[in-house]
Amino acid sequence: MSKNKSEYLINRHDNQYEVVIGLEVHAQVISESKLFSTSATKFGAEPNTQVSLVDAAFPGMLPVINEYCVKQAIKTGIGLKAKINNRSVFDRKNYFYADLPQGYQISQFKDPIVGEGKVILDMPDGQKEVGIERLHLEQDAGKSIHDLDPKNTFVDLNRSGVALMEIVSKPDLRSPDEVNAYIKKLRSIMRYLGTCDGNMQEGSLRADVNVSVRKKGSKDFGTRCEIKNVNSIKFMQMAIEYEANRQVDLIEDGQKIDQETRLFDTKKNETRSMRSKEDAHDYRYFPDPDLLPLEVSDDFIEKLKSEIPELPDEKKKRFIEKFKLSPYEANILVSDIETSNYFENVIKKSDVKLATNWIIVELFAALNEKNLEITESPISAGNLSKLINLIKDGTISGKIAKTVFEQMMEGDKDPKKIVEEKGLKQESDPKALEALIDKVIDDNRDKATEYKSGKVKLFGFFVGQVMKVSGGKANPQLVNEILKKKL
């Protein structure tokens, strides 16, 4: 862990303040059905079409735990290198709201399914470890829709009862950049595991952000404020920046910070008090008597461990060791499971070095321009592999390859066919090249004389002319060799 240039500090007068951040991430579990009922969980369905009697809390209805969701939570815990608890307890968190049909949320309060773990962040100045406090399973609430009618609120219960994992970090984060890296890493791990799709637009990943500030060097924590339900990394970073500065201003002004829950107003770019500690809900947590404590055996956990795929940290290590990638390249390629899968498919049949460059530079830029995910890439891994092989065996030059690549981006065409159809094959026949070069020298007698009299810079001019005349197809290496001889 380093304390250098990238340290995030707030300066006021002669004081330097450090920002302390902890996150409570709510990650929707990937599961066909809800945590305690058999209703579907598909995003974007017509309102109230994925609601069972249990989800709507009809009289006499009882929750039954979905074993798959439990497995997903344990897998996530394993991915976070965390302690899996053999015994956990579901509690009721009691409060009234129109979109909370039971009048309580079933959650894990005292005894969560997953205990302490950690996440490693790759920051520009080195690695940083962020502690995980716990992970617990809970039900999502429904959705209140206030803007469909001037007088009434509508309630959609599709989300009611959907399984969430609440992942609570230790207050180990120190800057908006670290928050960014943390969320991305968490998302990456869960996507590798297939336990959460991490889609923030659809609300599959949301976070409450706890922020406090303290003078640099201080060991004590300041009073924290919780910023509720921020649904993009950008907003999280903005909210932290605003909130940290607000707290510093208060301290510098000799005022005290109230522990409270705040909301981030994305339009005004500011946080606002939602409720103070005194007004905080008394949730009256108690163990849900409808559910027995959740017991998982060591065998059960071991079996899940054996199903865990290679995770980003391990994959990165392998890429560096086996493929001699730089840590920078490896980081980029492992950050998303789809990208790393794509990469590994490309290098099955082609050169690693070239593949790394073509994916990181050309493919990413092209996808970015078209606003596409790697899974939507018009160029399949197989075809990119073919293109790289055409470069490698000298069939086309790197420059021509870019032209072919552009064509491929317009539709998944075989690069060999493009090269054939457009006659882009590189000219590597020395005799043909000699004839071509002779003609160029002949056409530029004056320049050739100048070159011979010592103006060696003109060599580049001749290469350019040869390439131009050949329509870019001349093998640049051979052109160089022959030109040198002839001039």
């Binding site: 009697l53 709507a56 809390a57 009809f58 009289p59 006499g60 209805m61 009882l62 929750p63 039954v64 735990i65 009721r92 009691n94 009234f96 709201y97 129109a98 049909p101 039971q102 009048g103 309580y104 609120t153 309630v155 008394d282 009256r284 947590y285 108690f286 008597p289 409808d290 559910l291 027995l292």
Partner: protein, 485 residues
């Protein structure tokens, strides 16, 4: 055949199986008697026309292999019944018609029984006299203006008055056994986890248990046979090997060790109850049982523990009745106002009292002192029974500290009302089975019951003891049909 309604369940089953009676005849007899008995106010919702229709259809194609072939039956209005209003005795569910069936009632219909209607009960099963029902109090057929007990007061009254051959109730702190005792009938509270809670309007989830109520022990055993099943839809349902309670019923209890807990001799217990208990001990001895004095040292704490745990769970279980999704809704200025008006108008006084107690004991700052402590005491109470069962096979106690009281007598004194449950609540707290059988009368001629408490999953044993004692006791209920004009 005359006096159909006087027949026991086993007689009716036999007569239908041997085709001496049709389901229609039986159903008609109970419907007619029910119609003549409106004064008792046992029904919240009657479904006679459907019942007669179902009976007719049964007779057209009778399946006589079933355990309850064409037997008409009314059930406590806490069980959700598909397409038939289910109110839990509350205004807040006055208009609620379930689209689903409770597992216990489904088991009953699967064995050929026919639903006649829904029986009155205390609101959300909170009460010991059936006086908290939104649908009015129920008369005890023993005597006018006498409560039938509660919360399954409609059920006990209906069985005692022979308006239904058998019925089911629910028992959270004594709600089957106490009304059985008050009406001279038999009521069994099974082991927690024996009968599914799926589709039963919840009062206190860790205590609620459905059970049979009948005129005699054998009928009770036959019905327990039908309703006790493992159910995946209830996470607290227990998959244990269930007996064929009816078939295996025996009066041979020779050598069974029966414990007499000294702590059940409570202060101010009427002498009549003390005498009844002594008589009970003699009956048990006559049956060949061995009597052993035992101690259940934490008995004193059972009632306060119960009145923390049950309201705590209830305060949360009843949060769903908020006027948003179903049931009664009062209009309000905004969401909070709507909640307040709905719940103030929709719930009766006793339910509101318990929601407040429950909310209080779960509140931060009070949780440790009340709820957590109560849970610890609950464990001690359970340990008491575990220790006792190292020495005995069953425990014999009075069912209630008094006979039935007058309507209105205790409505303004909740604590004295709660004291009614003093002998029954420890059984719920420990999750054990308990059965109340009629064992005598007090000076006023009102019935008194004895309770036999068993080990967990040992329903067969307490049914056997009750069956043997029932014969020795030879109890006769004095029902005069005073309400039939």
């Amino acid at each position: 055949m005359s006096d159909i309604t006087k027949q026991s369940l086993s007689e009716l089953v036999e007569n239908i199986k041997s085709k001496k009676l049709s389901s229609s005849e039986v159903t008609k007899a109970f419907v007619e008697r029910s119609e003549k008995s409106k004064e008792l106010n046992v029904y919240i919702t009657e479904d006679y026309a459907n019942a007669l229709d179902k009976a007719k259809r049964f007779d057209e194609k009778p399946n006589l292999d079933l355990k309850l072939p064409g037997i008409p039956m009314a059930v406590k209005d806490l069980f959700c019944t598909r397409d038939l209003r289910t109110t839990a005795g509350s205004k807040i569910l006055n208009n609620f018609v379930p689209t689903y069936e409770s597992t216990v009632t489904q088991n009953i219909w699967n064995e050929g029984a026919i639903l006649m209607g829904k029986l009155n009960c205390d609101e959300f099963a909170m009460g010991s006299s059936n006086e908290t029902s939104f649908f009015g109090n129920v008369q005890n057929p023993i005597d006018k203006n006498l409560v039938p007990g509660g919360s399954s007061g409609g059920s006990s009254s209906a069985v005692a008055a022979q308006l239904t051959p058998i019925t089911i109730g629910t028992d959270t702190g004594g709600s089957i056994r106490q009304p059985a005792s008050f009406t001279g009938t038999v009521g069994l509270k099974p082991t927690y986890g024996s009968c599914s809670r799926y589709g039963i309007v919840a009062f206190a989830s860790s205590l609620d248990q459905a059970g049979p109520m009948a005129q005699n022990v054998k009928d009770c055993a036959l019905l327990q046979d039908v309703i006790s099943t493992y159910d995946e839809k209830d996470s607290t349902s227990i998959d244990f090997k269930r007996n064929e309670y009816g078939k295996e019923l025996t009066k041979d209890i020779k050598g069974k060790k029966i414990g007499i807990p000294k702590e059940y001799r409570v202060d101010g217990m009427p002498k009549e109850i003390e005498d009844l208990w002594k008589k009970g001990i003699e009956y048990a001895k006559d049956c060949g049982a061995e009597i052993i004095d035992i101690s259940l040292p934490h008995t004193n704490y059972a009632l306060p523990t119960y009145y923390i745990v049950a309201p705590a769970e209830a305060s949360s279980n009843l949060a769903r009745y908020d006027g948003v999704k179903y049931g009664f809704r009062a209009e309000g200025e905004n969401l909070i106002d709507m909640y307040e008006k709905t719940r103030s108008e929709g719930f009766g006084a006793e339910v509101q009292r318990r929601i407040m107690i429950g909310t209080y004991v779960l509140s931060s700052g009070y949780y440790d002192a009340y709820y957590l402590k109560a849970q610890k005491v609950r464990k001690l109470i359970k340990n008491d029974f575990d220790d006792a069962y190292k020495k005995v096979d069953a425990i014999l106690t009075p069912s209630t500290p008094s006979s039935a009281f007058k309507i209105g007598e205790k409505t303004n004194d909740p604590v004295s009302m709660y004291l009614n449950d003093i002998f029954t609540v420890p059984v719920n707290l420990a999750g054990l089975p308990g059965i109340s059988i009629p064992a005598g009368h007090d000076a006023k001629g009102y019935p008194l019951g004895l309770q036999i408490i068993g080990k967990a999953f040992d329903e067969q044993n307490i049914l056997n003891i009750a069956y043997a004692m029932e014969e020795k006791i030879n109890f006769q209920n004095n029902i005069t049909d005073w309400w039939i004009k």
